[in-house]
């Protein structure tokens, strides 16, 4: 028989009465230890408040995420291939070992269902052995990485991680060794006990350490809100955001306990990388610490001992953390939630922040300029007014209407639209979409702005919007949903790339290089990466920055931060501008008026050698006949 050549696992044939008793006692002890840790954690999660607006369906997306991120470990592998693969084999080995372990324990009482000598059993044990080898190698690799290579985002070396690695390694070795001994000998018995004791020691350690993710993260991934950076609605009249423990929802508590402390979030965080206090990992761990100390019904403020207000207001809501997190933690709603708690109750005192709020309470735009100025711009450039007959409402946004650079981008787009004969019009009474106040957590002003804009859109019968600002696009499409049904809206890169074939071919002989910077709100938030690139590539020779696409590094303007004061540490815009300039490209291509101003200021310092800064609309317009 073929199976005769396969190695066989040695499993003790007989267990004496005292062995059974000892095992039963130890198992009860181990399970009790396990539960003693896990019980209060589950209690904290389940006692947290219901998630407003949470819907389980449609479930397809959840299943897809689960298969892709959990079962296939695709996200982990994709973002950090080596460590990811090592992690994946450990995970798959654990899955394969579920049956082995069950059988292992059942065998003591003579209830084993996999017979090492039988066909099925032998196949399965060998199958598991392959994973055991890979897992042992993988965990060894991870151990070396954590204790020898020590990337900084993994944080302080913890003895717990070492212990866990050791236990997993021992589990695999004691399993594998049993293939080399005789089933009837003492060796088999010793190995069985060694394996069992390791297992029983492992169990209570799980909920005590970050290895809790082993149990929670599959659930976290499955239940995550899903809409990227999605800010949930407030539950009722007494909900002002995340003020105290009583405001933490089940999802947030679940996420807080799921963090595996891998540090991917901080590795990609623009704030953390430029010397700010904010560390997205610490935000999550801070909530965990809070829950352990005060519980989910506490009135103790969340911003205090465990999380700092300063950190919460340093976030650009770029979403790099959320995008990277392998266990489905949604940082942006958490951070914005903390801001809501501080702003909606008036606890946040910031001179510039207050000025922005007052400006938008009273006026129509975030820059605090008289709307007469906008009218002048519209009239002087004879921009047609939207009257319901044109296809697009061209949404100017605050930057497009008032900022000199933003106006140049609008005028370039207008030139292209006219060339393409795409009909459009602008509104007289457009107000700020509310993006900065939404991200800063001011629900009051956001609601006022959204409702006023809905009214204007209705009066003018707008059905389709195009805008040069990814922040406007996102806010109109997603955030306004809380107060009505927004019209169709797209970013100009989408429109331009659709019509690219109708634009004249640009002279590409003298190839100059262009590097395109992915705006957070276009890329990660909207999933638009290739459209603006196609426009840029039609004009110049496209090169990529070291961090691009999903890994793009924020310009520092998002989350309302463009309107707050000077940054602590290095400016994010300078870090990014230097990276873009270092590609040697002669043009930096942008697709967001905020990125544009941030880089303009940052590049000024480079003097004459600085690359030229152009929006993709300006690139497209340059190719047009005068």
């Amino acid at each position: 028989m073929m199976t005769a050549f396969l190695p066989t696992l040695a499993e003790p044939q007989q267990f004496s009465g005292w062995e059974r008793l000892l095992f039963a006692e130890l198992a009860v002890l181990s399970l009790a230890g396990f539960w003693k840790q896990l019980g209060p954690i589950l209690g904290n999660i389940l006692q947290s408040k219901k998630d407003p607006g949470f819907r389980l369906f449609p479930i397809g997306r959840r299943v897809r995420d689960f298969v892709w991120e959990v079962l296939l470990q695709a996200k982990v592998i994709r973002e950090r291939p080596l460590a990811g693969l090592a992690h994946a084999v450990v995970f798959w080995a654990f899955c394969a070992f579920a049956l082995v372990t069950l059988n292992h324990c059942a065998a003591v009482f003579g209830l084993g269902f996999l017979d090492p000598a039988g066909l099925v059993g032998r196949f399965y044990f060998d199958f598991a052995a392959v994973f055991a080898v890979a897992c042992a190698a993988g965990i060894f690799g991870l151990f070396v990485r954590r204790f020898v290579a020590r990337p900084k985002w993994l944080g302080e070396v913890s003895w717990e991680s070492g212990l866990i690695a050791l236990l997993i390694f021992a589990l695999m070795v004691t399993y594998l060794a049993a293939f080399f001994v005789a089933a009837s000998g003492t060796a088999a018995q010793v190995l069985w006990w060694a394996h069992t004791l390791t297992l029983l020691a492992f169990l209570p350690v799980i909920p005590h350490t970050k290895h809790l993710h082993l149990m929670l993260s599959p659930i976290t991934v499955f239940l995550s809100r899903g809409g990227f950076g999605e800010i949930p609605p407030l539950a009722d009249d007494e909900d002002f955001g995340l003020v105290a423990g009583k405001d933490l929802t089940k999802l947030i508590s679940l996420q807080a306990y799921s963090c595996v402390e891998c540090g991917r979030c901080m590795e990609h965080c623009p704030a953390n990388n430029t010397g700010k206090l904010l560390n997205p990992k610490e935000i999550v761990l801070g909530l965990r610490g809070y829950l352990n100390a005060y519980g989910p019904t506490s009135e103790e403020p969340l911003l205090g001992k465990y999380n700092a207000q300063e950190a919460a207001f340093e976030c650009t809501t770029c979403g790099a953390c959320e995008y990277q997190c392998p266990v489905g933690i949604e940082h942006v709603p958490i951070i914005v939630g903390l801001r809501r708690g501080a702003v909606n109750t008036g606890a946040w005192e910031d001179q510039r922040g207050a000025r922005l709020f007052l400006t938008l309470e009273r006026g129509a735009n975030a820059l605090g300029i008289s709307s007469a100025d906008r009218d002048k711009f519209v009239d002087k450039n004879s921009l047609p007014l939207f009257d319901g007959t044109q296809e697009y409402c061209l949404w100017l946004g605050c930057m497009g209407a008032y900022d000199p650079r933003g106006r140049e981008i609008v005028l370039a787009l207008v030139k292209v639209l006219r060339y393409l004969k795409v009909s459009f019009g602008v509104l007289r009474k457009e107000r700020c979409t509310g993006d900065p106040v939404r991200r800063l957590g001011n629900d009051l002003v956001f609601q006022q702005l959204a409702e006023a804009n809905f009214e204007t859109l209705k009066q003018n019968r707008v059905t389709k919007i195009v805008s040069i600002c990814p922040h406007c696009v996102r806010t109109i499409q997603e955030d306004w949903k809380a107060y009505g049904t927004p019209p169709e809206v797209e970013h100009h890169s989408e429109l331009l790339s659709r019509h690219l074939h109708r634009l004249p071919v640009q002279n590409l002989e003298k190839k100059e290089k262009i590097v395109f910077h992915d705006p957070c709100y276009l890329g990660r938030y909207r999933g638009i990466y290739e459209e603006p690139r196609s426009v840029a590539a039609a004009a110049r020779d496209l090169v990529e920055a070291p961090r691009s696409h999903e890994r793009s590094f924020c310009c520092g303007a998002g989350g309302g931060l463009a309107f707050l004061g000077e940054e602590k540490g290095q400016r994010a815009s300078q870090a990014r501008a230097a990276e873009l300039a270092a590609t040697g490209a002669s043009v930096v291509g942008t697709a967001c008026p905020f990125c544009n101003t941030m880089f303009r200021d940052a590049l000024v310092e480079k003097g004459d050698g600085a690359p030229e800064l152009l929006d993709i609309a300006q690139l497209a317009a340059r190719g047009l006949p005068e």
């Binding site: 909606n344 207050a354 007052l358 009273r362 001011n442």
Partner: protein, 256 residues
């Protein structure tokens, strides 16, 4: 300390001003309204005093129904209760007329301190507060940037011309008109708005307050100033220039 703050609702900064068809007033149909900024500073000063020393802040405002939104805003910012003196036709009331209404509402409250902005952003008369002080028989100080409570009453910092300041002391009760910029304004919050719903907002008409209520101003016409460049520079010695000026005021401008 019991503090009354008199506030006024004025057109929002960014709102378009159009003259109504009859040319008697502006078209208010599409206007946005806001709290007069110096009054916002007066309210801020009152709230700070309350936060420091305790007490009560009562807001008083006169005007038609639309004024209620600004009163609500004041309650949301932290005022404890409010009195809305309902009256139409503000355009036909001068400072004295409005001051009578305000004084009638304030008097029964017997406040320790009355605060109001030094002037309104729309009409800019700058008299209402001072007249209220006169009607209530209170000592007053104008253009105040900062108020502090001391044993003998109040110590206030006034802004004078050319960067000069004056510190004076007053007994209470007193009335102060507040200059913009002395403090940082707080922003309205969702919690404030929700809490404001349960706060007392009493409405009262002039007769109910026992106030005199006859509009005093007859308004014939309002118009946008005509744009004309007719600057003339009168040369010569001061005496010659003065003679020339009087001549022109008589013959060209016809105001003498």
């Amino acid at each position: 300390m019991k503090i009354v703050v008199a506030i006024k609702q004025v057109p929002g900064r960014d709102t378009p001003l159009r003259i109504a068809e009859n040319s008697r007033w502006i078209d208010e149909s599409e206007m946005q309204w806001a709290m007069n900024e110096p009054d916002a500073y007066a309210l801020e000063e009152a709230l700070l005093l309350k936060e420091r020393d305790g007490g009560e802040v009562i807001v008083v405002s006169a005007g038609p129904e639309r004024v209620a939104s600004t009163i609500r805003e004041a309650l949301a910012l932290g005022a404890d209760r409010a009195i809305h003196i309902v009256c139409e036709d503000l355009r036909r009331r001068d400072a004295l007329c409005v001051a009578r209404l305000l004084a009638a509402a304030i008097k029964p409250e017997k406040p320790d301190l009355v605060l109001t902005g030094l002037q309104s952003e729309d009409l800019g008369l700058g008299q209402t507060g001072v007249i209220v002080a006169e009607l209530l028989g209170l000592p007053h100080a104008t253009m105040v940037l900062h108020v502090e409570r001391i044993d003998s009453g109040l110590s206030v910092k006034r802004e004078l011309e050319e960067g000069w300041f004056q510190s004076i002391e007053l007994p209470t009760p007193a009335l102060l008109t507040i200059q913009s910029g002395g403090n940082k304004l707080r922003y309205a919050t969702l919690m404030g708005i929700k809490r404001a719903r349960t706060k007392e907002l009493r409405t009262a008409s002039a007769p109910e307050l026992g106030a005199e209520d006859a509009p005093t101003v007859g308004l014939d016409q309002i118009s946008v100033p005509k744009k004309q460049k007719s600057t003339q520079i009168l040369r010569g010695t001061a005496k010659e220039a003065a003679i020339a000026l009087v001549e022109r005021l008589k013959t060209e401008a016809r105001v003498l």
